[in-house]
Amino acid sequence: MQYSQQVIDRFKNPKNAGGLRGANGIGKVGNAKCGDIMKMYLLIDENEVVKDARFKTFGCCAAIASTDVACDLVKGKSVEEALKVTNKQVLAILGEMPANKIHCSVLAEESIHSAVEDYYKKKEKESKKAVKAD
């Protein structure tokens, strides 16, 4: 099993690691049994554009590198576009990955979906609140 230099670089010095103050879409996927838990933090503005994305990951190199790349891929995109980001795009940036690690890129894709879902849920709640207030 060999990791590409891109995976190693991202793993060693992730650009988007850590929490994100004011994040309004927070997703969490995975479980300890499989060895990967990913938390994705999105800051989405009023025009539904992802202003910033950060992550916290419990997992292997591939998991950490994949979430880091996923953050890059959603930044600056509209929420709708962000949902179209796939694990293939993550893999394209990271290069070859050992077969049993492909699922890390899939989890990274899912973490985006989970964060966006959280964002929509929160928005819905708020709009309901707003209706009640009226």
Binding site: M1, Y3, I8, F11, K12, P14, A17, G18, K28, N31, A32, K33, C34, G35, D36, I37, M38, K39, F55, K56, T57, F58, G59, C60, C61, A63, I64, P98, N100, H103
Partner: protein, 390 residues
């Protein structure tokens, strides 16, 4: 970059004494040990001496009870399947433990697919098999009990003599995987009542690709390889003379230097564990607190995953392993830690540090520095890190 190798339970370097023993067998004494002429006889003498050395190291009654194999996995496979098959007319039940090496577990799985019944004994939180559980599991159809002497992941030492005695009280054959035990504790197959034992050379500063099965005379086993009279007709094939010579020398040295090496390892281990405990919070040391070998330390680091620790250490030249080397590509947490009822998170965050006789305190200082940095870095980006737990 500085390099420190702490994966000696996976394999060791070949010591210079062993290498010196092997080298002439490649181009000076190169005869086929089965040939009748002088070249062959010279090679056969080397093989005989190696067999004597292995027999003496474990106090076998006779050196013809030692069968050379390609290593520990072959010896395990042969012992489990070969003995089970040879006694199949008596019964088709065998007993092993949940924490065995995969060479034993997968051989048992194969027997299950052939219609044998296998009981996998549980272990306690330290990795020990309970004798009462064993007695409870023995049936009229039980022919073989196989329990490893020392666990490869956590270093726990089983009560081998008590297990063997129990087996014999019920007329059952006892096999032990002794791969991690040789050189770490005194093994006396007669005193410990061991009927069959697997051994390997490359864990004790010998070459890879060679090991042996000790099989007490009188115990039947199915032949492994047909087509040659080697190893008393049981395992045909031209003897790998350099490897066998190296194994003989390695096991002789391992037993000769056992006390000295264990003292050294104990000092290094204590130094390491004290430093880690002092510098890194939220850890758990896995395995038995006392009944353990000195060379292996298994530590779980809370909130982070083992492979990423391994990789950060590797980037600084420090070699360790997650679980055992053979299973490190599997995603599920270690079957050993699972059997010890260690949580998934802690099992995923476990690292095995296994020390060799060449490790110095200065090596340990370097490793602990690198380890502390790695753990802090990973915890800073872990979703499991809670406020106040850093």
């Amino acid at each position: 970059m500085r390099k420190v190798y702490l994966d000696n339970a996976a394999t060791t370097y070949v010591s210079s004494e062993v290498l010196a023993e092997m080298l002439p067998c490649f181009n000076t004494v190169y005869g086929n040990a089965n040939s009748l002429h002088g070249f062959g006889r010279e090679a056969a003498n080397i093989v005989d001496r190696a067999r004597d050395r292995v027999a003496r190291a474990i106090n076998a009654n006779k050196s013809n009870e030692i069968y050379f194999t390609s290593g520990g996995s072959e010896a395990d496979n042969w012992a489990i399947k070969g003995i089970a098959h040879a006694y199949a007319n008596k019964g088709k039940h065998i007993i092993t433990s949940a924490i065995e090496h995969h060479a034993v577990l997968d051989a048992c799985k194969q027997l299950e697919s052939e219609g044998f019944e296998v009981t996998y004994l549980p272990v306690d939180k330290y990795g020990l098999v309970n004798i009462a559980d064993l007695i409870h599991a023995i049936k009229k159809t039980t022919t073989l009990i196989s329990i490893m002497a020392v666990n490869n992941e956590v270093g726990t030492i089983q009560n081998i003599k008590a297990i063997a005695k129990t087996a014999h009280e019920y007329g059952v054959i006892f096999h032990t995987d002794g791969v991690q035990a040789i050189g770490a504790l005194r093994i006396d197959v007669q005193d410990m009542e061991i009927d069959a034992m697997s051994m390997s050379a490359h864990k004790i500063y010998g070459p890879k690709g060679v090991g042996a099965l000790y099989l007490k005379n009188g115990i039947r086993i199915e032949n492994l390889i047909s087509g040659g009279s080697q190893e008393r007709n049981k395992r045909g094939g031209t003897t790998n003379v350099p490897a066998v010579a190296g194994f003989g020398k390695a096991i002789e040295i391992a037993v000769r230097d056992l006390s000295m090496n264990q003292q050294k390892l104990k000092a290094i281990r204590t130094y390491f564990v004290d430093k880690v405990t002092e510098r890194i919070p939220y850890i758990q040391i896995n395995g038995h607190p006392h009944q353990k070998i000195q060379g292996t330390v298994n530590i779980s680091f809370e909130m982070i995953e083992g492979e990423s620790i391994l990789m950060l250490l590797d980037l600084e030249g420090v070699a360790v392993s997650t679980g055992s080397a053979c299973t490190s590509q599997v995603l599920e947490p270690s079957h050993v830690l699972k059997a010890m009822k260690i949580s998934d998170e802690l099992a995923q965050g476990s690292i095995r540090f296994s020390f060799g006789k060449n490790i110095t305190k200065s090596d340990v200082d370097y490793v602990v520095d690198v380890l502390e940095k790695a753990v802090n870095q990973l915890r800073s980006i872990s979703p499991l890190t809670k406020a106040g737990r850093k």
